[in-house]
Amino acid sequence: MMSPEKMIRMANQIATFFHSQPSEAQADRVADHINDFWEPRMRRQLLDHIAQGGEGLDPLVLDAAQKLRTPV
């Protein structure tokens, strides 16, 4: 799908925004955003990367992982 660097950058950009928000549910909001806007192939790639340790990803993206909808 995307190059791994690009995927990591895009996911981290989202995390960076929600980091700045005074919400208590930052990880939920990262997950919501990705669920709303990322096509299943993109989520699959992200989930696969997380399953392999999620190197380079913002910890908030890793926190959001359980809330990401698994593509069918």
């Binding site: 950058r9 950009q13 700045s20 005074p22 709303d36 806007f37 096509e39 993109m42």
Partner: protein, 964 residues
Amino acid sequence: MKDFIIPDDRDMGTPAKTGAPVSLSIDGFDVTVPEGTSVMRAAAEAGLEIPKLCASDNMEAFGSCRLCVVEIEGRRGTPASCTTPVAEGMVVRTQSGKVKKIRRGVMELYISDHPLDCLTCSANGDCELQDMAGMVGLRDVRYSAPEGGGLANHFEARDSSGEANPEWAPKDESNPYFTFDPSKCIVCSRCVRACEEVQGTFALTIEGRGFDSRVSAGASLDDFMSSDCVSCGACVQACPTATLQEKSVIELGTPERSVVTTCAYCGVGCAFKAELNGDELVRMVPYKHGKANRGHSCVKGRFAYGYAAHKDRILSPMIRDHVDEPWREVGWDEALSFAARKMRGLQETYGRRSIGVITSSRCTNEETYLVQKLARQVFANNNTDTCARVCHSPTGYGLGQTLGTSAGTQDFDSVEHTDVAVVIGANPTDAHPVFASRLKKRLREGAKVIVIDPRRIDLVKSAHVEAAHHLPLKPGTNVAVVTAMAHTIVTEGLMDEAFIRERCDWDEFMEYAEFVSDPRHSPEATEMLTGVPAADLRAAARLFATGGNGAIYYGLGVTEHSQGSTTVIGIANLAMMTGNVGRPGVGVNPLRGQNNVQGSCDMGSFPHELPGYRHVKNPDVREVYEDLWGVKIDDEPGLRIPNMLDAAVDGSFKGLYCQGEDILQSDPDTKHVAAGLAAMECVIVHDLFLNETANYAHVFLPGSTFLEKDGTFTNAERRINRVRKVMAPRSGYADWEVTQLLANAMGGEWAYQHPSEIMDEIAATTPSFSGVSYDLLEEKGSVQWPCNEAHPDGTPLMHVDGFVRGKGRFIVTEYVATEEKTGPRYPLLLTTGRILSQYNVGAQTRRTDNVIWHDEDVLEIHPHDAEVRGVKEGDWVKLASRIGDTSLRAKVTDRVSPGVVYTTFHHPDTQANVITSDFSDWATNCPEYKVTAVQVSPSNGPTDWQEDYAAQAARARRILPAAQ
């Protein structure tokens, strides 16, 4: 054929006024008009026309021609009716013996210095001088040159002895679209006043005095081309004679019929009358009842329509198995079954989600709706996106989150009530010229403007316009600047607390206020980063907060950044905290780039949203379409354009139907786009021309211009305007019909007979459009959505009694530097934009005489940066980023700051986007066109890449002769 009935199109002589009613009597008829109205207009309201030459209702009265004199009981003399305001109980006589005699005398003098070549004159039948001579009953001209005394006129080149007439001046034909023939000029000053009052350019003047008075463009040695003229056509429109005349009318004759339609260029959405003989378009004239443009136009809409008849138009469908092969012209059936077979085959091999569509922001709402329907119903996926992805998608996200809807909040008329306009990342005089003229008019009335832009755009300083503040920020620091403005407003206590308490979520505001109050957001703390002097920024913020009605207008300089959505949020925060939402003169106003960006977004072009901005995850929304279309709608978001290209390179996205967009030229990182397209097995391009994307296409379906079809465009003020067919589609089908044929070739079973039926389906399924129909548009001319039971006449202003989402929501806007950073190798920042005469990828405007103004993209570079690189004006330079390089000519100018370079992307030979990166907005993937780290160095000419590109393009455009 049913043409729209044009409402009263008369020129009322002077502008409409608002005021208390005043009653008077004119020629025995009682008439009541608002205070301040001229006697001339009052008479016109009563249906009585007073002769006039220098008056026109789109400019203030001038009182120079003296043809409109009247008698008023109890007043001395014969006042000019155009400059005389009405008074209660006034008794006016417009046709007394005395005024009739004066008028004939005036007319006789005019005609004594005007040629009597009416039958061969290009304005024959469309000349106010001719009309007025008739109306006043002129029968004789007694004045002639005295025997042996030489000529005393301006219209004869030589006298009978062959001596040259020193008063005569030749025609100025320098402008490609109109001529200026001084011999026919009556020096009424309408052109000069139109240039000043309507367009606001001040390119024209009257030089000399008395008999020597002449209209002059620029200084005495200038012609129209070398003057400041921007070719908007306002002077041509104003001219009562053949002095300023469209070349098309000179060539083709005066038009006999006219149809009201909508311009297909920028998001202002000007209404025009297409004037024709038969199906031959003679000219486009701005329509005075058009609510976006109020009778004004720019060079593109007024004149640059020649592309519609250009020889490069492709009129037959074409196919090929491989992009290395030449095109084969085929019939529609063969092309469509070839395309359908390929697309279905790809889905069988690679899966349902392996193909998709790109809808066009240049096509109609109805066409866009059908293209996304093709994806959702026939392809059974949500792989639909539109070029709004690469321009205003952050507006959708940012305004949706804060205000509850992505809609711009105002209509264009609103600017007439604005006291302080903030223009951020937009260059309206080039990209939205008619709006710019309306804004400049307001500025001349005393409103202030704050410009936030890296470049010194024309609104910073030009004729009779000077920005109160120009904040020349470093590209990529919008969020820091907007947040520092909020810091100033909040910490100095300039916010509108009552508004915030009533209309917004107070707790969220308190959190936000705490955030922005942090000293790290102060203008002083961010000055080093943004390059904006703190004192200027504070002064600008104070002016916006306290200067009366504050309106923010913004463009792609806001959205096309990695923090585009955050800046949009910051803009909404500023508007809310100052109470500048929900009434005329204020608001958040995204200036949309293309004619139907708004509409293409409204129509469900985005991969996560069905029409009306409703997420595909919502079962109730899907059900509406599932019931109507009889298929299951995918509940997963589809691929956005950049994701499609990534997936293509990766091998899981194989087929694309691209209507009216040229992604290879317009999208960032050209090499990546080309690689994505090259990896696809079926690319269907549906367009007027073999555009750059078509170099990688397997099927070409000929498109139709806006003149060749019915439909609607929705402009930046959410105004749904009718597009009316004035001629038959040259390829045989309108674009909506072609999409329908493709859908049906793939089993869609669609049966639309007319675009009005498509609009009926949109209205039936989309709550914000439920009141819209072609009948309503015929009746009202245009309507702004939401248009439904709650708003049967549409909605000029949003959020009047409350925000769409309920309480307005303040969202924290933390500045995050883009990863695209300058360094030793790439020390300059490139930002890109548009120029007045060209439009987007230039596919249309490059095929018109507009190339006279801009025949190549140039690189604007500051004199300091140029000097240290040994670059001089006009030199070829290589522009390189870590992504790619290209060459173009340099323009050395201090319009850009040191460290910043600027270019346009109108020409494929330059391909500015080979430089731009694939960095994008965090929320929407909108590309970061506006910030690229680059280096500039002297060069000899095109780069290897440019030469390779040109060679590939030439190969890809070969067409086999049609089979016999």
